[in-house]
Amino acid sequence: MTDQRLASPLRRRAPQSRWWLMALGGLMLATSLALLARRLGWGAASGWVVPGLAFAAALVLVWSPLETAVQGDARRPDVVALFSKDAWVRVVLGLVLGIVTLVWFAQWRFTDDPLLRAVLMPIVIVVALALILAPWWLRLIRQVGVERERRVREFERAEIAAHLHDSVLQTLTLIRAKADDPDAVARLARAQERDLRAYLYQERRSVEDSVATALQRAVSEVEDAHGVAVDVVSVGDARTSEALRAGVRAAKEAVQNAARHGHEPISVYAELTADRYEIFVRDSGPGFDPSLVPADRAGIRNSIVGRTRRHGGDAVVASAPGGRTEVTITIPRKEER
């Protein structure tokens, strides 16, 4: 779990200087200059200049209240809250101005060819309207994105809550009910801890897909049955095959022996390479003399050694009285890819 934080800090941006005021001023200046030019009689082609400038002014007016919407925090989907009274006035003014210029344009005979006019007119009007409405459109898209993100988060949160309820909360209730039975409490706590760890830190993979998961599962069963703690470390992973499963079973038997006869801590280390699967099971004493195990005890001979040998592997039990016992299980891997 890379530490993905659910919430990112709000980014506060300083509102920009009143850019639209400056733009409006510039446009007014331009308009007056254009009028002056007409008065002085040059610029016959400038019949469209004034309406063009008026349209630009309309754009500025309509867009101006939305500067916060385009740059600021989009997590306030409440459009109305963005608007002060004068913003509304600006929008309405801008819309009126824009519509007036478009009406003027619709009447303007910029060419005598009616066909060309009929083609150009709607295109220009549509583009102009799109320009006026663009920021609103952008804002809508952003809002949809924000909404979707919020829904996804909500869903994740619900799922986590459900998981906690089904697992941790239930276990805690059970633990409270069994408070006077330390063994049961320890077992419940261990099982729950394991479950939660798996939920938090591991890719959830099935026993068939991952031999590491299979081994962990097998060891967990022994932990629960015998009330011991076993540390499992796995290196490498692959799909579970028949041979690997035999290795896991043998390891489970070895862990069971360690739980029955040995002291904690018990550690299991499994290493999967291209050509073999090795599992080491080690307890912390008291050790025994393997040659003195009675002939009628079948645990080591059948369940561990016999099982691994059937798959072409081998198992070695190394122990001496007073020392630690370590079982080494080796299963060769055939070409199973």
Partner: protein, 216 residues
Amino acid sequence: MSTSVVIVDDHDVIRVGVRESLEDDIEVVGEGRDVESAIAAIRQARPQVVILDVHLPGGTGGGALDVLAEVLHDPEPPRVLALSVSDAAEDVVAVVRAGARGYVTKSISGPDLSDAVRRVASGDAVFSPRLAGFVLDAFNAAGGEVASVDEDLDKLTAREQEVMRLIARGYTYREVGEKLFISIKTVETHVGKVLHKLQLTSRHELAHWAATRRIV
């Protein structure tokens, strides 16, 4: 010769537990419960060792990484022992690469933890079986790649692999030494070199650990 430590963990229960389980020659000189208070406590108390939880609130959200980035650049930086319930390889490896001198899980026993603190204080690295497993995985050591020269940062030498394997199998440093017929000092040297490689290598597998869990 007592060792001074600062305990950093966001759970009061764990801090109390760690404090209780440390042996008498280890003196707790400060505590922290988030990134900011941890940095403050470390700068104020100047401990030899910081016992640092991997997941901490505060800072920029990097948890222990934020603390390491701050305090390891101070003059006479403390040595850091990472302590975590996390089994996530990328967390552990990230913290070790950021400069922690060891990593142990919270299930560690009191005497073992005290031993780990002393070890870190004396400049050695502390590897739990789990960390050794992560390292072997990260260096693709199970695939049998062996460094031809010591200076090859991308691979472990055959000896380093042996040492890591034994630690992963639950051997103590002393037992590793006995098994390989080398002194504890030599074992510590190997472990230190592995830690060094882990912190220096730019190996792709380490950076994109989780994404590239190797399927043989």
